[in-house]
Point group: D2
Chain length 138, copies 4
């Protein structure tokens, strides 16, 4: 019950996330309420104005949020997410980092920051998750 | 300047949205602050728990928001979006409908509802856009 | 257990809300996932720019949300609220109307619209509540 | 035009905020995208369940946000705010700290953390402001 969950275990669990894989997101590491993921940018990540699509930025942040909120072993599902777009991304990849604001008995709150290749903040994402009693660990 | 913008014109503009096309979203119609889009669900839209991915639901709502907020001809870019997940989707497609809450001189506010194949609400999305002076019309 | 909860019962429960009373908010009616409240505007509701304070608009919407999400008898507490400010209020009162988007086993979602004396939308508020098992009814 | 704006100047500007004064909020300091405020808690700050009212927590965060986003001299008005409630406040005062996530040509983004007397996080608030060209300085 109290065995430490490793980054590899969380990555293995999130490898089943078909949509994140389809979009091209790579989970770099996760554990203890934190997670980092990145997205190498390709043409199909852009919108009609040629800038990185809000949905791609959101999905990257969302996977990082999922990794962080599931990092304690209990299944956690998103209730509410919000994203503020700060500037158009420069460079050829995006990076997202999630940190835990709080993990209460039922609700967890997470803050995710998305930066671009030049290290500047592209978006800020806040996620709330409902924490189930069940574990996702086999 | 005051020529009515047709649904075809908006659809043609949003056909350049590479990420929405990549995800498989179809814009059904748009005009006068409103828009409807749908997403036929496939295996790659699911997450590690086998339910439709929050990022896919978000991207569908986001495209519908983009169509609605650009429907007056002025370029509008997302500033902030929030999504509440109501229930896991049933059936094999999602549908999103956007309506305009307000379109002020600088800021537009939109409300998008995502329903599933059984007609039930899957998610509620709120979008705020910054309205530029320039038009996207050629 | 299934006795219909009356608007009077909900109003009586919310009369214990000291902050709403302090601000001057009046709950007009409530029941079955809906609620209406109003706020007669006075000088102390304004901010440094002379316009109605965002905190006053929020508190009005929040009380209406509380009435709506508690209207089924189960104690419901706010998890997350968001508010978009559409335009500065005109006239001498504000009115808020809440409607239920969904009431699931654990989470309820509500949408509140705040209008001013001229009937125009001042703000849009979205609230998520955690629904406890206990009832607030004596 | 480039004279440094002092904390005193910002406090003097926000002293005109009638609602914040009515609620009992004290701006402690502000400048360069940051601000700190506090709220000594009294009975009229509580809701029907006896816990500190969400509207009071919001209004404290909102004033701190206003001080931070106006700290550069340009008038900034709130477009969108969101608040996540983490836990019920303990002790007899609340403290809010705002920091600037970004200050672009038109839009500023701010993150505010509200803590209670025991130093624990009570709420997390995100604010977006529209930055006007005019200054509020006389």
């Amino acid at each position: 019950m109290k065995t430490e969950i490793t980054s590899e275990e969380i990555k293995s669990f999130l490898r089943k996330d078909a949509f994140a894989a389809f979009v091209g997101i790579e989970l770099v590491e996760a554990g203890n309420g934190r997670a980092t993921a990145c997205l190498p940018l390709r043409d199909h990540h852009r919108n009609g104005l040629g800038i990185v699509h809000g949905g791609a930025v959101f999905t990257l942040a969302d996977l990082t949020f999922a990794a962080a909120c599931n990092s304690h072993g209990r299944i956690a599902v998103a209730i509410h997410c919000s994203i503020s777009y700060i500037k158009a991304a420069q460079g050829d990849f995006l990076r997202a980092e999630a940190r835990e604001v709080s993990a209460g008995p039922k609700i967890g709150a997470y803050s995710i920051r998305v930066t671009d290749g030049s290290g500047e903040i592209v978006a800020v994402f806040e996620g709330l998750a409902y924490r189930k009693k069940e574990s996702w660990r086999p």
